[in-house]
């Protein structure tokens, strides 16, 4: 993160507290969703959406990704592409299985 003035750091601290409150609230929401009858697929999708929002908050604010350098963004783009390939390998196997 670039050099920060004390005022900017104090502003960041307020943001951290707000993000913490949002994360705690979304944790309760995640548990609440599991008790709703949304169907199998609906429950999975909603729970993963909430988890993704929480993950984005942690990455953007606690890990300061919003203010990072391009080098980090390129590293992460490459990581995300590799991760998606990894996740879609079993899904493609599942589709093959369905065809048989």
């Amino acid at each position: 993160m670039s050099e920060l003035t004390p005022e900017e750091v104090k502003h960041h601290i307020k943001t951290y507290v707000l993000v913490f409150i949002a994360l705690a609230f979304l944790t309760i929401v995640t548990v609440g969703i599991s008790y709703l009858d949304l169907g199998h697929v609906g429950g999975i999708i909603l729970a993963l959406i909430v988890a993704s929002i929480k993950g984005t908050l942690v990455a953007c604010y606690f890990m300061h990704l919003l203010d990072e350098k391009v080098t980090i963004y390129w590293t992460l783009i490459a990581t995300v592409v590799a991760f998606l390939i990894l996740i879609f390998v079993p899904l493609s196997a599942m589709l093959d299985h369905a065809r048989i």
Binding site: F20, I33, G55, F62, K69, L76, A82, I87, P90
Partner: protein, 198 residues
């Protein structure tokens, strides 16, 4: 000989070396946990009947553990912000709280695992695929928590002497330790619903 770019940013990357190094390490960690998430999807989609986490696992305890980890994440970033404000006492306080939350996480995990082993018949990794992937993923995550405690503990204790000799470098060290710790939190954010709730 001094190690270059521990404080100043490298002109080509725009970052100090430690930060880029930790981000590259985290990229490899994404692939490590990604492989296990991939295995989980493979196992789950390969069978017609997959147990819900509530059949085997303790959701209230895991919810408490989630709150412990997100609390430790905010205290970790606060410890870095305290150093940015030249407040070393607050840094020590927030780091201590971070360590307490991390130990709290381990204690709860101990109770969770103990309950599985004490069950009759015992719930072991060999019992079924669900418990196999549960113990593998949470076990690897626990190892990361222990690693984090060791490093954060070092910078709370002997490693904090660097604040007196090279405060900027020390602040950078806490920033990158924080990156690792937030990543460990981030992994749990996905492990919790995937294993316990779905």
């Amino acid at each position: 000989m001094d190690i270059p770019y521990t404080v100043k940013n490298r002109p080509d990357t725009g970052l100090y070396n430690g930060k880029l190094g930790v981000w590259l390490f985290l990229a490899s960690e994404v692939m490590l946990f990604g492989g296990l998430f991939s295995a989980y999807i493979f196992l789950r989609t390969g069978v017609d009947d997959w147990p819900t986490g509530t059949e085997y696992l303790d959701v209230p305890l895991a919810t408490l553990n989630t709150l412990f980890l997100i609390s430790s994440s905010v205290t970790m970033v606060m410890s870095w912000a305290s150093l940015k404000l030249n407040d070393f006492k607050k840094y020590k306080l927030y780091t201590l709280i971070t360590l307490l939350f991390a130990f709290g996480f381990l204690v709860i995990k101990y109770f969770e695992y103990s309950a599985k082993f004490a069950h009759n018949p015992p719930y072991l990794p060999s019992t079924n695929n669900f418990l196999g992937i549960y113990f593998t993923m949470t076990g690897l995550h626990v190892l990361h928590i222990i690693g984090g405690i060791l490093v954060i503990g070092y910078f709370y204790g002997p490693g904090s002497k660097m604040w007196n000799s090279d405060p900027e470098r020390f602040t950078n060290r806490i920033e990158i330790v924080g990156l690792y710790w937030h990543f460990v939190d981030l992994v749990w954010i996905f492990l919790f619903p995937v294993l316990y709730l779905l």
